[in-house]
Symmetry: C2
Subunit: 403 residues, 2 copies
């Protein structure tokens, strides 16, 4: 064993992960939607584990669970979320919370946090936004479950959280935040690597393209007469498919997740098409370049086609770069413990860390996802990779605190 | 007035159309889905009108209404359907039935028919297929309403039709069949013409293309790793959009009416795409050529993409050419009554006439559709065009019978 590394109890780490996995178990994954009995049971389980580790646990009015380290001096904040997507994986979220607990248990000055509803059953990052003062009561009044429509207020009441105050981050308490997570991609796995030091969380720029044409009978309307909104959508998407590679960066991704043609019948020329299109990158320059390409495509469509295409911005988040010092501390730990088996890479998915990055130096550490699968009950990571991630996280945190 | 033309009562023709329009009125159109009380009321109305015109009316076990001419000698069969699409136009179907009544009323040896469910609420051309012996009891047992799922047997019972025998065409009775209809396109309107002599009813070749990829998180999966079924669908459709014009005929049409991406969420790479694609032409050679182009496109997709595209034939109907002698008789009538204001053109939509064309010389006559609109309550045709169509139909029928 390398003399100056700090060794966390990885056996107990894995045992805790498996204990948490039994709460709301679904096949080999878990089903713990936010504020359900299973989710609340996992929060109670966490609070008990926190107390055993010497932390002072508290659950607040939005469901955030914070275990405060009782000692003096600057702290780290570490954690993630504990609820899951529907019928989803056992590691997403849980890994960040349980690894934080291991850091505290090993004697590092760490507050452990489980943010509520990162998975968006009721809102957008409710827990991390509440903790950083970005969630107001009016938004809580307005939100409802995206799958079955239950009002957020009802869910909070049923979970026993109504009326509790909400915790807000104590100014000056933290030196930084760290969140361990599965990669949710195959970059590490494909390269045979065990650890990823996250450079930042990409921004998502998301759009709705609506194309208005003329609904007509597919038999009675000649090709020359048509104003086919579906065909205009296909041509625009094919154009974007050809143009985006000329303007993107190495890790840029772009996705059309939905094409809805109205009325959607075999023998009716679509009078309307609705397309969801998004792209993600860590660089605002790249995002702005691609935004311009998209706008040029829509403008070209409106010049060429007999349909009217309209571009609507659904969201343009800011990228959240990880702290350079944190990255270096984690990278040094990775090189010490897993030489040649780690890399720096961005996170393509959103995480609570992106809100923490607004208020303190923040970092993320990735471990490989088997087959890149996430948000599905078959999500998994090799035990040896989980253990290596835990060791790098602990050693990196020690170096960051010492730095 | 040209001395050798036959003049039907066009005022009474228009009055009857407006009387029928009041049954199931919806805005300026009608809502008379097959076997609803409104549809059955229209059939009863028709039988009363037939009796007044000297015909012997009968309604059978599938809802077909036939008014038999009592005189001797060869007859014409004329008609269409009387039910409507949901919240649809007042002329589609009704025009063919009421114009047939006018022919009989004017003394021509005409049987008038209203076929059931041409609009396909419960099946495919139930009435004309029943009348020509192509509908068996097992199919009636199996069918249900395409919108709300009511079994066809239940609908027939509620309409009072259960247990009635079904009429089958009397062999040797008819010299030919004719159906007047709105164009459902803008060819006549755009040319300022009043009448279209239909050359035939195009065949529809219809396909489902299913593309299987890999559903993945849109943030965590690099472009190189993706198996995006939606993107493969867009590329294939864009290829077809470029290739079909090189192989089609003058009046060929092709349509993609539906693109369904699964799961259809903004941040999920589609794991599956389902595309409905069809083309129509009057020539089997052209249809077979386009079928080959489509198959080449799917094969190319399977060579280029990391997704698997499958082509499934949903239907390949046969084109139904109109009888040459019938066309000439109608063309001569059109040239006599509306010189320079008529043309020959194919029907892009399906009609009962396509089944009649299998068993006797058949013809169709089109009048303009305002704005090409059909299957919508705003469907309409100018009164002067309706009247001219009626006059050409009558004169053409007289010439055909005399020929």
């Amino acid at each position: 064993m390398h003399s100056n590394t700090f060794e966390p109890d990885t056996d107990r780490f894995l045992a805790d992960l498996h204990a948490l996995r039994r709460i709301g178990a679904f096949r080999t994954g878990v089903h713990r939607p936010t504020y359900t009995p299973e989710d609340m049971e996992s929060r109670e389980w966490l609070m008990a584990r926190m107390a055993k580790a010497g932390l002072v646990p508290e659950m607040d009015g939005i469901g955030n669970v914070l275990g405060r380290h009782p000692g003096p001096g600057p702290k780290l904040l570490a954690g993630s979320h504990i609820e899951s997507q529907n019928e989803a994986g056992w590691l997403d979220g849980a890994l960040g919370v349980v690894s934080a607990l291991v850091l505290a248990r090993a004697g590092l000055p760490v507050d452990v946090i489980a943010f509520a509803d990162e998975e968006g059953h009721y809102g957008s990052f409710l827990g991390s936004r509440s903790f950083t003062g970005l969630l107001d009561e009016a938004e809580i009044d307005a939100q409802a479950n995206r799958y079955h429509g239950k009002p957020l207020r009802d869910a909070l009441r049923e979970a026993g959280l109504a009326g509790r105050p909400r915790m807000v981050m104590e100014a000056g308490r933290y030196k930084g935040f760290v969140e361990m997570h599965i990669e949710q991609g195959t970059t590490l796995e494909a390269a045979g690597e065990q650890v990823g030091v996250v450079t930042g969380i990409v921004a998502i720029w998301q759009y709705r393209i609506t194309i208005e044409g003329q609904q007509d009978h597919a038999g009675g309307t000649t090709m020359a007469e048509r104003r086919d909104a579906g065909l205009a959508a296909v041509r625009l998407l094919a154009w974007l498919d050809a143009e985006f590679p000329k303007h993107c960066a190495d890790r840029t991704v772009w996705t059309c997740g939905r094409i809805a043609l109205s009325p959607g019948a075999a023998s009716i020329i679509p009078g309307r098409a609705e397309v969801l299109f998004q792209f993600r990158d860590i660089s605002v320059d790249v995002l702005e370049r691609l935004d311009a390409v998209l706008r040029r495509g829509v403008a070209e469509s409106n010049r060429r086609e007999r349909c009217v295409a309209t571009l609507e911005v659904m969201g343009q988040s800011a990228p959240a770069p990880c702290d350079a010092g944190w990255q270096d501390a984690l990278a040094a730990a990775a090189e010490a413990l897993a030489p040649g088996k780690w890399r720096r890479l961005p996170s393509g998915a959103g995480h609570d860390a992106q809100y923490m990055a607004r208020v303190m130096p923040s970092a993320m550490l990735f471990v490989p996802s088997i087959g890149g699968i996430s948000h599905h009950w078959s999500e998994d990571t090799k035990a040896e990779d989980l253990a290596m991630g835990m060791r790098v996280l602990a050693e990196g945190a020690r170096r960051f605190l010492a730095g």
